[in-house]
């Protein structure tokens, strides 16, 4: 129950922040009019009246909060259509990209941790180096490199907005790199710690091989910190999607958000932010529920 309350609080905070940031600076009328010469005084007056922009800030805030609560995300200032229309075609591609990237990233991390860690100091150094590199190299740059190599130079994959599986390969790989890198680092560390613990000795004493120890026992330990990283991964996916969608000319929420933020399209920005915040809240909730199944010690705590 308190979890739900804090979730609602996060959503309310995110929405309010959007409203304040976009309402307090700049000129909303210009945002509504869009590109080109500024509006004439007559047009300005009409827009101010139509959107109630001359009302006091708190009146506008309450009116806007009320429409949000009633499930009305409003009309896009810039694109002159309901926000739900605008977003409905863009949620799918972003979700596809994010889920594929997350699964790929986690998959690579588990494989690397299971089979490549603990192969001596030199191998560990190489692995650590690679994972640091994958986290620190800009996603944008990796994307451009992938595109240049595997679409323009060697035409294996399409570059332009293909929403089929072929179009998903390069962008999701690009986005999976930093995730795999960070996860590998954390998981490998945890595996090493676990394998120096007394229970590992016991397992080995029973005649288990290194691989068996890793797959059946210690790898599980490493999933715990990995799962708690989901918040970071989600941020990575959302932030990365913005860049990736631009480089690969994919449709999606990232591009919508960039265009909307640049043009102060408050209803669209709010909708995208609320969507991301909801995803954040829901995923963290799910992680909290899943953790006890991964780690029986947490289950015991809950039981008590």
């Amino acid at each position: 129950m308190s979890r739900l309350a804090s979730g609602v609080f996060v959503l309310w905070g995110a929405a309010t922040l959007c409203f304040l940031v976009l309402s307090l600076r700049g000129d909303t009328v210009s945002a509504i009019v869009g590109a080109g010469p500024p509006p004439t005084p007559e047009l300005r007056a009409r827009i101010v009246a139509e959107y109630g922009l001359d009302d006091p800030l708190w009146t506008r805030y309450l009116r806007w909060l009320r429409s949000l609560l009633s499930g009305d995300l409003g009309w896009s200032y810039q694109r002159e259509e309901p926000v739900t229309h605008l977003l409905s075609s863009q949620v799918g591609p972003t979700l596809q990209l994010a889920v594929t990237a997350a699964v790929l990233g986690a998959g690579i991390a588990v494989l690397v941790t299971a089979f490549l860690t603990g192969r001596g100091r030199a191998a560990d150094t190489v692995l650590t180096g690679l994972s640091v590199l994958s986290v620190s190299v800009p996603t944008f740059w990796v994307g451009a490199l992938m595109l240049g190599l595997f679409s323009f130079a060697i035409p294996l994959f399409p570059a332009i907005g293909d929403t089929g599986p072929a179009g998903l390969v390069l962008p999701s790989l690009t986005l999976a790199f930093p995730i795999a890198g960070a996860l590998t680092q954390v998981m490998a560390q945890e595996v090493r710690t676990a394998e120096s613990m007394p229970f590992a000795l016991t397992v080995r004493a029973r005649g288990a091989t290194d691989r068996r120890l890793r797959l059946n026992h210690t790898l599980r330990h490493s999933l715990l910190p990995a799962l708690t990283l989901t918040g970071w991964i989600l941020g990575m996916l959302i932030g990365g999607a913005v860049l990736i969608e631009n480089v690969f000319a994919r449709p999606g929420l990232g591009r919508v958000l960039v265009a909307a933020a640049a043009g102060r399209d408050l209803p669209v920005v709010t909708a995208v932010v609320l969507l991301s915040a909801t995803a954040f809240v829901v995923i963290n909730l799910v992680v909290d529920l899943v953790l006890p199944f991964v780690d029986p010690r947490l289950r015991a705590e809950v039981d008590r």
């Binding site: 945002a31 590109a35 010469p37 007559e42 827009i47 679409s151 035409p155 332009i160 449709p251």
Partner: protein, 534 residues
């Protein structure tokens, strides 16, 4: 008319290519990559250039530019103007229909002009094109009279743009809310808009039975292409890569830095088209210090080594500008070439005379303890890498002259509020337009930004106003051009503006794209294009 000349030139090139390549082939979908997304799919509410470009084949106009520089019939078979210039009577074609089956007639013209004027449409630029339009009279099923409150020499030009194209009356009645998003469009053109995915693509299809192209269009019937698919690719290198690897047939706005490489690539050709209008220019805000002083403004003009910067930044691809109109624009004052330019000695003398004789610790000039400093905000979304590089070069030149330029990137809404309030010293803009009346928008005292105009430098100059008003009223093209020439000379002489460079529209085209003729804007005329077997 420069636009007409452009069409004529490009048209000839098109004929040659057709002759060597055999008869046009029907079929195929052209894949076209563009850099910016349309802000609105309703031409009556649009401000972005790309809207007009992409919708040109969907919306026909009453008149068109002819190859010989005059206006030619299109949806109007002919027209007469009263000697006082206050009434234009258009006779319309009687066989034209909209793609939803509605007939095109005088009532449709009236309803469309009413739609632009209706405040609910929130029209900015298209509304300004109508000028002093006072009344539209339907005098017959296919006769319509446009009445002006004062003579307006730009009316025919305005009517030839996509912005004043025609929606079907049914679209205006039943689908008004769906025009801007492109969900429902019905025009009279050779193509129809099939679908739009925001930020991704727009798909256009050939309209069967089309047979009313403008005079001067080579293809007299239906379009050759089955359709065209437009991808919005904001990243320069994605556009370059896409056309280079054959994933699109035509890519718009090739960056100057990549042109030399692209020219060498097999299977591709680069075609460049001069764009009429105003070149990329720096406008100095004359309504506040430091640029309220003509000496300081002239010092700015003399401090920038434009030849060297243009050559360095654009590798010889673009030309420096001499006037605030581009050479391809009707009325361009060619005699301005060589009359002003880089002279650090002159700049130093002017600044000394203006009282900025001291220097501070950073080497900037000071007067009465105040540094010579200019605010230069820009809207990051509407800028390009080329322009940013150029701006920094300008900043560097002025630093050497002792003038500090503070460049700041702001978002478009923030930018708009600063611009309306006049809180800037330098503002840069390039403006594509085939009509030299763009000078009125840029310099008339009635066209301040806060009033919906584009007087970037907040210039109030009675002499300019008089010439601009006279040019708007006269129907004699020679007199009009003479007046616009005077305007161009005066804005340089008064240093209201520093024109910087003219860039052609650079397109990369795949070998199989044939029949290329260009619109005034420098983009290909899609109705004439065809795709060879590849």
């Amino acid at each position: 008319m420069s636009g007409g000349a452009l069409l004529g030139l490009a048209g000839c090139a098109g004929v040659q290519r057709l002759n060597t390549a055999g008869p046009p082939r029907k079929g195929g979908t052209l894949r076209f990559a563009v850099a910016t997304q349309a802000d609105s799919w309703d031409p009556h509410a649009a401000a972005t250039d790309i809207t007009a470009v992409l919708l040109r084949p969907v919306f026909d106009s009453l008149v068109a530019y002819g190859a010989d520089g005059t206006f030619r019939p299109w949806l109007a078979t002919g027209w007469t103007v009263t000697p006082d210039g206050l009434a234009y009577t258009f006779r319309l074609r009687e066989d034209v229909t909209f793609s939803d089956g509605e007939p095109f007639n005088a009532a449709a013209v009236r309803d469309n002009l009413a739609h632009i004027v209706d405040p609910a449409t929130k029209s900015g630029f298209p509304l300004s094109l109508l000028g002093p339009l006072a009344k539209v009279d339907v005098t017959g099923e296919h006769t319509v009279v446009l009445r002006m409150s004062e003579p307006y020499s730009s009316l025919l030009y305005a009517l030839s743009t996509t912005y004043l194209g025609f929606h079907s009356p049914r679209a205006l009645r039943e689908h008004r809310k769906e025009l801007a998003s492109g969900k429902f469009l019905a025009g009279t053109g050779p193509f129809t808009l099939e679908s739009v995915v925001p930020n991704q693509e727009a798909v256009f299809r050939r309209r069967p039975g089309y047979r009313w192209p403008s005079q001067g269009t080579l293809n007299r019937g239906e379009a050759y292409l089955d359709g065209y698919r437009v991808s919005f690719l904001p990243e320069d290198q994605t556009r370059v890569g896409a056309v280079g690897s054959g994933q699109v047939d035509v890519a718009d706005e090739m960056p100057s830095a990549r042109l030399s490489t692209l020219r060498k690539q097999a299977g591709l050709r680069i075609e460049q088209n001069p764009v009429p209008g105003s070149p990329y220019s720096y406008y100095l805000n004359v309504s506040r210090p430091p640029f309220d002083d003509p000496a300081v403004r002239r010092a700015v003009q003399a401090s920038i080594d434009l030849d060297a910067i243009v050559k360095g930044v654009f590798r010889g691809e673009y030309q420096r500008a001499w006037s605030v109109l581009t050479p391809k624009t009707q009325g361009y004052a060619a005699d301005l070439a060589g009359t002003w330019g880089y002279s650090p000695e002159t700049a130093a003398r002017l600044l000394d005379e203006a009282g900025y004789s001291g220097r501070d610790g950073d080497g900037y000039r000071v007067r009465g303890g105040v540094r010579l400093r200019a605010e230069f905000p820009f809207a990051a979304d509407y800028s390009t890498a080329d322009r940013r590089t150029f701006d920094v070069a300008l900043q560097d030149s002025l630093r050497k002259a002792g003038i500090e330029v503070v460049l700041s990137a702001v978002d478009s809404a923030e930018f708009a509020s600063r611009v309306i309030a006049g809180e800037y010293d330098v503002k840069s803009v390039a403006w594509a337009s085939a009509d030299p009346a763009v000078l009125r928008e840029l310099f008339h005292s009635q066209r301040f930004l806060a009033k919906g105009g584009s007087n970037q430098g907040r210039v109030r100059d009675p002499q300019l106003d008089a010439w601009l008003d006279a040019a708007r009223a006269t129907l004699d093209p020679q007199e009009r051009n003479a007046l616009y020439s005077k305007v161009q000379h005066r804005v340089i002489e008064q240093a209201y503006v520093v024109p910087a460079y003219t860039s052609p529209r650079s397109l990369a085209l795949a070998e199989r794209v044939r029949g290329v003729r260009y619109e005034v804007s420098g983009t290909p005329a899609l109705a004439d294009l065809w795709l060879a077997d590849s």
